[in-house]
Amino acid sequence: MNLVPLALYAAAFLAYAWHFARRTPALGRTATTILAAAALAHTFIIGMRTMEVGQVPVFDATSAISMFVWLLAVAYLYTEVTTDERAMGVFILTLILALQAIPAFKTDVDVRSSVLRGPVFGVHVSSLLFAYASFALAFVIGITYVLLFKEIKTKHLGVFFARLPSLQVLDQMNQRAIVVGWVFLTIGLVAGGVFAIQAPAPAMTLEDPKIFVALVCWAVYSFELFAARRIGWAGKRTAYLSALGFAIVLLNFLPISYFLTHSHSF
């Protein structure tokens, strides 16, 4: 089922890449349309799963990734519509494609215990997924920032100079995505703590790598925000920090979810 959005995301990726190369407005509109169709198809599939199991399907690593990809697609579409900047589409879709390949080809679904239900659990999972989607956006924006920065700095004005928005705009977008992500990460972590106290499950302690890494992640992004506001770090350094933060997010999401965690398999 997840193959349909994957195919559409792949088509959108090709359209964005083509648009990046040729820069014709018609191609850009086509790319956006295909991505919107992909997100719609994805919405439909998540909706179906929700009806099937009676709650939003975020209770195993695979469907959580699918949910994350969907959030990322919607968040990117929102930024694109509000800023009319399409040059980053090709980067975002690379990430979307890589992640969506997991739910598309891994179909086994674990049945969850009845413990993992209730509003607090919902807030916990959805806040964290939203935070991760924001961090993913910040990461991609950060990469494009560094690419453009290097072109200007080394005086080799080329591909990115002609296509990307200004460093100032990229920096602002990166900061905004990190603030939004940090707020939701905080909410998600607090909700997780509350949930752990309310419905104690085995091994929900700092020894669980997932919890530990999530806290490290929170620390990295907190430092980023502090550095940007108090030390005056800007541009390249914050871009690198957002890359580091997202690497930790991915680490938490993929290897730890599948292999290491005790209480969290999502």
């Binding site: 453009l148 005086k155 004005l157 002609a162 460093l167 800007a234 541009g235």
Partner: protein, 452 residues
């Protein structure tokens, strides 16, 4: 009706000649009104005037292009009070599709001094709207100009002919925009009160920067330059570091023999800025800024050679896009040519339809007489039926010949077909009654139609 272009441009005439025939000086509107009253090219001719600092061109749709051409040249010389012999050697004239191709290339920026410059399309649009307001543009010129707008728009969106800065000061501005986004609210410091610094500062000012500060060894010079720029302020040489610390863009253009801004000095200026980026444009020769200063993380340092290299790259990129732009011109010219040719056969099509319709009407009248014996209700019913059937019959019979005639791409063939149809159906008489302000393929042996 044919197309004629008579003009002078940077390709045929030096500035001394071009400035003497500048229509903008005396007003395009006045020129159009004067032309309309002189009626070169006869009644029904259409005229538009395109005037920029690099060209003065008259576009005309008329029947007798040879006569119109000499009239236009004499109009230009009398309107601008210039001796005809002074302009004649520089005047070019082209007709029909070649004239259309010329305008398409102009609108695309292919004929400009700096290939791909963006202003020309707007100037072409102004030329058309002036002709419309003066009511000197008709169907042919309207179509011609709309087609050239399509060319300009397609070249703008489908090629990179107009991309990249092609002058040093514009290259500096576009770099500043890529770093800071909007330049509004930014501060610029200019070191040196010379001409080069002043020009670049003026360019920045026109982009909406908040504040321009001129720093010079002699405060009086700085004050004078600041006044010349308008809205700029002057600062003393000793206050340079404070000015630098508060600035976003620094333009250095002093005549100093050794660098004024060393790496160490800029580092000390950067410290309290807390990561705020600084864009330094060093247009002085010898350089005012130590090259090593470019290594500081938040400093972007460009000297005059860097900017010129970027300009050269952009010009080269534009040249490589010319071919794609020319292909668009060809494509749109093909469409325009088809339209123009289809106009050539329209009188024949109209005459053919009128001939068929008059036969149908005559037969319906005869039918009325035959039906007069029937009761009124039955008679009206029968007449309505016959009217409907014959109308459909005529339409269906004419459908294919009309489509075939309009679709003929070869003008010679179109002329032959039109002539054959005129003879076969005996349309000569009928054609006298139709409007034939179309050409350019009127049959040579056919009597020419009534002119509007």
């Amino acid at each position: 009706m044919r197309l004629l272009l008579v003009g002078i441009s940077h390709k045929t005439a030096p500035i001394e000649v071009r400035e003497r025939v500048d229509f903008q000086a005396r007003g395009v509107e006045l020129a159009l009104r004067t032309l309309a009253s002189r009626r070169p090219g006869g009644n029904g001719a259409e005229i538009a005037v395109l005037s920029t600092c690099n060209r003065a061109e008259l576009y005309m749709a008329c029947d007798d292009v040879a006569a119109a051409k000499s009239e236009l040249v004499s109009f230009v010389s009398t309107f601008h009070d210039v001796d005809p012999s002074a302009i004649e050697p520089h005047v070019y004239d082209v007709t029909d599709l070649d004239a259309a191709r010329h305008l398409f290339r102009v609108a695309a920026g292919l004929d400009s001094l700096v290939v791909g410059e963006p202003q020309i399309l707007g100037q072409v649009k102004e030329a058309h709207s002036a002709a419309r307001q003066a009511e000197t543009a008709g169907p042919l010129l309207n179509r011609l100009f709309h087609s050239c707008f399509a060319v300009g728009k397609r070249v703008r969106t489908e090629t990179n002919l107009g991309s990249g800065a092609v002058s040093v000061s514009y290259a500096a501005v576009s770099l500043a925009r890529k770093i800071f986004g909007n330049l509004e609210g930014r501060s610029v410091v200019v070191l040196g009160a010379g001409e080069m610094g002043k020009l670049t500062a003026q360019h920045m000012k026109s982009q909406g920067v908040k504040q321009v500060t001129i720093v010079s060894r002699t405060i009086a010079h700085a004050a004078r330059t600041a006044e010349a720029i308008g809205g700029a302020i002057a600062a003393r040489w000793e206050d340079m570091d404070a000015a630098l610390a508060a600035s976003d863009i620094v333009i250095t253009a002093t005549g100093a023999a050794t660098p004024i801004l060393t790496k160490a000095r800029i580092e000390s200026v950067m410290r309290p800025r807390r990561g705020r980026q600084l864009f330094i444009i060093d247009i002085a020769v010898p350089r005012d800024v130590e090259a090593a200063a470019g290594e500081i993380e938040q400093v972007f340092l460009y000297n005059i050679d860097d900017l010129q290299a970027s300009v050269r790259e952009n010009l080269a990129r534009r040249t490589s896009e010319v071919e794609r732009a020319e292909a668009i011109v060809d494509e749109e010219l093909g469409k325009f040519g088809t339209w123009l040719r289809s106009r050539g056969v329209i009188p024949t099509v109209v005459a053919l339809r009128q001939s068929f319709e008059s036969i149908r009407r005559a037969e319906l009248d005869r039918l009325d007489f035959k039906l007069s014996g029937l009761p009124p209700d039955a008679r009206d019913e029968a007449r309505a039926r016959v009217d409907e059937i014959t109308h459909l019959l005529v339409e269906k019979l004419l459908l294919m010949p009309t489509a075939q005639l309009k679709g003929l791409a070869d003008p010679e063939l179109a002329t032959m077909y039109a002539e054959a149809i005129t003879r076969v159906f005996g349309l000569e008489d009928a054609e006298q009654k139709t409007d034939t302000r179309v050409e350019p393929f009127r049959a040579k042996s056919r009597p020419s139609g009534r002119q509007r």
